[in-house]
């Protein structure tokens, strides 16, 4: 029924009866962070399957290319999707997608990152700016508690990534007034850990023991930072992260990384599936609040450190000890009581 090839399939708002066999697009922005492929996608698909067993999810990843994302959206529309869940590569450029979709009466749910220019139909996210400020604040608090003296390095995300810009802004909001000197900061091309490692290595020679902490914008760059300290043969200062990757959890358990932030993707992914399904049924869900002229739902993430990792990541079921407590990490897990 969906194979007609007409781009105007969704032209009339459809009744609940039509929802069977419907399609919904789930468009993710990049591969630089693992979460989109490994968490967002399967979680969204699972929830959708539960809500509408016969529905089909069209998943696409734009690999950091706004033009490719536009192509993917157009292709989804040509296939007659009933709703689009969109994590924009470029929040501004995504306006085109919203326009095109809405002109064909297909609702768009902004996911993870907002689309300020043209109001989408709904917005569900953890707040990236907030994430930045939370990881940085957690680090600053820790340093103050330790009575550390010296400065901080800041490793930002990709200079061509709008989300990285938001995180960066959030980090500054915590670091700038902290009293710790910002020694240097760096926008990591393509979020590449190797690049972060090279840069941090240079700063270690330059600032030597002045560095008391590093705010890294995600777990990959955080990992690169830690490797730089290890390779320089100096003590690793507290380093932040973001995304709660398995590798980061291991580093936290081993005491190499100070924090990361858990944005239980399950929450947003399932919320977006529920909302998308409502739209597909022709309903118009109302948001919990309104942001960028869009009905919105923002969730609060949790900073993860050694202190709370057991509760936040393991007791909640987000991670399994079997995946994390391998080899050299078994001992740390044991100490923290993770099984």
């Amino acid at each position: 029924a969906c194979g007609s090839g007409s781009g105007a399939t969704g032209a009339t708002a459809s009744g609940a009866g039509d929802v069977e066999n419907a399609k919904v697009a789930f468009l993710m922005p990049d591969l630089a962070s693992t979460r989109y492929e490994l968490q967002d996608k399967p979680l969204f698909e699972a929830k959708m399957k539960q809500l509408c067993p016969s529905c089909e999810v069209i998943y696409q990843n734009a690999d950091s290319d706004a033009a490719k994302q536009q192509q993917q959206a157009n292709s989804a529309l040509a296939q007659g999707v009933k709703a689009i869940v969109l994590d924009p590569v470029d929040s501004a450029a995504a306006a085109t997608i919203v326009k095109t979709a809405q002109s064909q009466q297909v609702p768009v749910i902004a996911y993870d990152r907002p689309i300020p220019a043209t109001p989408a139909d709904y917005y569900i996210s953890f707040d990236n700016e907030k994430i930045g400020s939370m990881i940085a604040q957690s680090l600053v608090d820790h340093l103050k508690a330790e009575k550390a003296e010296g400065g901080i390095l800041q490793v930002n995300g990709s200079p061509t990534d709008a989300a990285a810009g938001l995180i960066k802004k959030g980090i500054h909001s915590a670091v700038d007034p902290s009293g710790f000197k910002l020694l240097a900061e760096y926008d990591t091309p393509d979020w590449q850990p190797e690049k972060a490692q090279t840069w941090v290595s240079g700063q270690i020679t330059q600032f030597k023991d002045q560095i008391v902490g590093v705010v890294a914008a995600n777990d990959g760059t955080g990992g690169g930072t830690i490797a730089a300290f290890k390779a320089a043969g100096v003590k690793v200062p507290p380093v932040t992260g973001n995304d709660a990757e398995v590798a980061a959890a291991q580093r936290i358990i081993a005491g190499d990384q100070y924090n990361t932030i858990s944005k239980p993707i399950k929450i947003v992914a399932e919320a977006s599936a529920t909302t998308a399904y409502a739209f597909m049924q022709g309903k118009k869900p109302a948001g919990k609040s309104t942001l960028y002229n869009t009905p919105s739902e923002l969730f609060v993430p949790t900073v993860v450190t050694k202190e709370n990792i057991k509760e936040v990541l393991f007791d909640s079921g987000i991670m399994k000890a079997a995946d994390v407590c391998t080899g050299e990490y078994a001992k740390g897990c044991e100490e923290l009581g993770i099984k």
Partner: protein, 410 residues
């Protein structure tokens, strides 16, 4: 004709005239592996069939309309790449230049409120200046173009970030003519058909005049029936395309613009002294120089063209996206543009290639990308399949070209 044409007198040539001769000629050339763009077309048909079987939406009118529009921006860039490859050089910076051009356009048009034509003019001019700069560096210092343009890739990416400044991303107004041109303006059906007819008539008329001229000079010439057949075939194909795309939105002006550029470049490359010089420089630079060609001017002209096309492509991309952002032109724009040229039969060693190659090459690449988009695969699988399909398409091409080598005409 009673006497044998001047160019058919050698005893070793098999004489052929008229339609039968033309057919025999094609067969002969096919056996010799000299098939021009036919192998690419065959590759394309294979890809299209497979994707159509996997997802019946692929060849739907709506999807093909998208395909045409998505081809335009990188296609224009590939056209410039064909030119630099023809002289045996390379431009790695077309992605950055296109991104910078989009950024400049957006800043001037939206940020500074200049009229759109002025903003476009400035962006295109900037492209030309960049190319001129490359030409100077190349001619004066003899630095390999690979390195010059690698430096350009980095520098202009930096400049792009700088121009966009803290904004990071700038929206172009949806109701501006430019965005409409790239997204919503389609050629009215009657006009499309008119274009098709004009093209066919023109093909016949020019062929006929040319044949007459040749006959008058005592040279062999295509028969009227061959010419007629050829232009009827063109008419049928074009009319079918117009009709099929017209089932949904029709032929986009942006695509027409791209095709027009291809035709212009085809003319410049094949019918002007400049074009000859380009092929000569690519084939044997020293021989070209000894023939009195201003080789430096040719290099400069080609770099200017390439960067200019990159700038134009950047404008089209920004218009299509209705935004210019920090990652515009990044990612695989460079590789796609170069790959389109190469798939279209342009040699990386210079001296061989056509403007039409860019058109066909980009359609191959966009077809793969669009077809896979419809397949709903994991990213990891998608990458693997993209690689495999790309390879397949080119193997079809190379295998048929290959017989040429075994005939000693490599």
């Amino acid at each position: 004709m009673s006497t044998i044409a001047t160019d058919r007198q050698d005893e070793r040539l098999k004489n052929r005239d008229g339609l039968r001769g033309a057919v025999a000629d094609v067969v002969e050339r096919a056996r010799g592996g000299d098939l021009g763009v036919i192998p690419v077309v065959v590759g394309l048909i294979v890809i299209w069939s497979v994707f159509q079987i996997l997802n019946p939406i692929f060849l739907s009118s709506a999807n093909l309309v998208n395909l045409t529009l998505e081809s335009a921006a990188v296609g224009v860039i590939a056209l410039g790449i064909v030119c630099v490859l023809l002289v045996g050089q390379i431009d790695l910076s077309v992605g950055s230049v296109s991104g910078l051009s989009g950024a400049v356009l957006a800043v001037l048009f939206v940020g500074e409120g200049l009229p759109v034509w002025l903003a476009i003019g400035a962006a295109v001019l900037m492209g030309a200046v960049i190319g001129w700069l490359y030409g100077q560096l190349f001619n004066r210092f003899g630095v390999p173009s690979f390195v010059i343009t690698l430096a350009g890739l980095l520098a202009f990416l930096g400049l792009q970030l700088y121009v966009l400044g803290t904004k990071g991303s700038i929206n172009l107004p949806f109701d501006s003519g430019l965005v409409n041109f790239a997204q919503l303006d389609f050629v009215p059906a009657w006009l499309s058909y008119t274009f098709a007819v004009i093209a066919a008539v023109w093909l016949f008329a020019s062929g006929f005049l040319h044949a007459q001229e040749r006959r008058k000079a005592g040279l062999s010439a295509r028969s009227v029936s061959t010419l007629a057949l050829r232009s009827v075939a063109l008419l049928v194909v074009l009319a079918f395309v117009v009709w099929y795309l017209g089932q949904t939105r029709g032929v986009g002006w942006m695509f027409v613009f791209f095709v027009a550029l291809v035709l212009i470049m085809h003319y410049l490359l094949s019918r002007t002294k400049w074009g000859r010089a380009v092929y000569a420089v690519g084939g044997n630079e020293e021989a070209a120089r000894r023939a009195g060609i201003n080789v430096r001017a040719i290099y400069t002209s080609v770099f200017v063209l390439c960067s200019t096309f990159a700038a134009v492509g950047g404008i089209l991309a920004a218009a299509r996206l209705a935004a210019a952002n920090q990652s515009s032109g990044a990612g695989d724009v460079n590789l796609n543009a170069i790959a389109a040229a190469v798939i279209g039969g342009t040699s990386l060693f210079g001296g061989r290639g056509t403007a039409f190659g860019a058109l066909l090459g980009i359609i191959v690449i966009q077809s793969i990308s669009s077809g896979l988009t419809l397949l709903n695969l994991d990213s990891s699988i998608r990458f693997v399949v993209t690689g495999a399909v790309l390879l397949l398409a080119v193997i079809v091409d190379s295998v048929s070209r290959r017989s040429r080598t075994s005939h000693g005409r490599a």
